[in-house]
């Protein structure tokens, strides 16, 4: 994967690299029960998704990010109660070939972690936006700069064709 590049809002996921991006259409398969929360997912340019409800939120990585990382074999989750500053590492995901660090988009405190991932880390791949959620947090700070899904998909397109 390409060298890291710092961008505003944290380090960019080094997926921007000549993998044959086959431009697959993003087709989330989700049960109707989740349709309500679908539109609430916001995305960081570094491929985390953030679902806020008041001052609480759930966080994970996008379908694009899980595809770039490969099958997750190990997940290192933070301790409940730990405080993480914006741009700091919240947790680490490992595939056979790579180590991926997941960053907090804003200052937050971890209130829950997805224990299921210790036994079934590949859930991050099969269900990145639902069953594969990583942490729940209480957060402070401004999240208005996070992208909605349409803007995020545009961001992915532009990363593909950039330069």
């Amino acid at each position: 994967m390409a060298a890291l590049r710092a961008t505003r809002g944290g380090l960019r996921f080094a997926a921007k690299a000549g993998y044959t991006f086959t431009g697959r259409s993003f087709a989330p398969a989700f049960a109707p029960a989740f349709a309500r929360s679908f539109s609430d997912l916001r995305f960081a340019p570094t491929h985390e998704w953030f679902k806020a409800e008041g001052d609480s939120a759930t966080l994970g990585i996008s379908d694009f990010a899980q595809g770039q990382l490969g099958e997750v074999v190990y997940v290192e989750l933070p301790e409940v109660g730990s405080k993480v500053s914006a741009k700091d590492t919240l947790c680490t995901l490992e595939s056979v070939k790579a180590v991926g660090e997941v960053y907090a988009p804003v200052d937050c405190e971890v209130t829950a972690v997805n224990e299921k991932l210790q036994d079934e880390p590949a859930t991050v791949n099969s269900s990145p936006e639902e069953e594969g959620w990583l942490v729940k947090v209480k957060f402070t700070g401004d999240v208005s700069s996070l992208m909605d899904r349409a803007a995020y998909e545009k961001h992915l397109e532009s990363e593909k064709t950039e330069e």
């Binding site: 390409a2 890291l4 944290g10 690299a17 044959t20 180590v99 660090e101």
Partner: protein
Amino acid sequence: MAASRLARHCSRQAWIRAVRSFSTDLKQTLTYEEHLKEGGKMVDFAGYAMPVQYEAKGSKHALSIIDSTKWTRESASLFDVSHMCSIRWTGKDAFDFVERVTTADVYGLPAMTGSLSVITNERGGVIDDTLVTKCSSKEHGEHVYQVVNAGCAPKDLKHFEEQLGKFGGDVKMEVMWDNRGLFAIQGPKAAEVLQRLSPSTDLKSVPFGQCFWMTLEGAECLVSRCGYTGEDGFEVFVPGSAAVPVWQLLTSQAEVRLAGLGARDSLRLEAGLCLYGHELDEDTSPCEAGLSWVIPKARRDGAKNKFIGSDEILAQLSDKSRYKRLRAGLMPASGPPAREGAEIETLDEQVVGKVTSGSMSPCLKKNISIGYINKPHNKQGTDLQVVVRGKRHPAKVVKMPFVPTKYYKP
């Protein structure tokens, strides 16, 4: 998120660097287009555009690295390894020259047989690891056929040229590289596949290490029963014009799935095999690497046909106290994989070694690492710990290979 610390797949001289597009700066093997057709995830490996894995939607070849590794051990996988460099040595003094630059017992090798060896420097360190084969053909008679790593090839060739200058003698070095295909078919069903494609060859009588000629798609191919996975398998040298047809022929066999560099690394790690730039480098002797066996008995007579660096290496063979560390296998019990660079400590935090390669084994579903450990902590069963991202995790020294090997013996 950022993939900030990458598990470097390959040697320090040949990093996996993903490139923005199929840059024309990168070299291409003859089957480059075939990789693209199957959605090959291409990366820069030793200056070549090579596939890490294949991702064409709906294709049977679109396997994750984990599934590809498992498929290899259950059926058969096909790898394009044309980026490696092949050399043919001919001439009256060729055997003597190859015995000067490697530890191989060329004179002692039976006809059509190859063996792992190392190209050594003056200090007894390893310039590259290599497969040396005593081959014979109608055109060239008895000669040496050698394969070296892609990343080291420019260095190796320069070294050979320098040594040829000093050696004099009747030796000709012919490099066969980008104009031919070199394909590895590995796995328990590899022999079945080749047998079907060449019914007249009796593969049952060919042991691992031996090579033979086989006609595929009208071309005479040199096939060696060897590989880098721990499984039974073959490497097929195909003349340029037949490279794509032979690749397509092998790809279309029912038992075969394509595999890329990702699976190649997993497989060799599970088999406890060295990767140049990780377990081997110019400052590491074959003895430290646990490869004393690549210096056969006939080469241990310091008076006859000395190889470069033999003073130090032969000294190490007779006096093990000359080297303080040894390559060993480790299995971190739990926690994250201990990858290259991770420190190895005793339980009271004394640093005694370093990991050179590590990941999660797809077949064992456990963490495996290879590293160098100071004696006596390298003994099997020793309880040590590895440091990963500042945290310590217990790890036991284990025997390699991690996954039992299945080299074929008739």
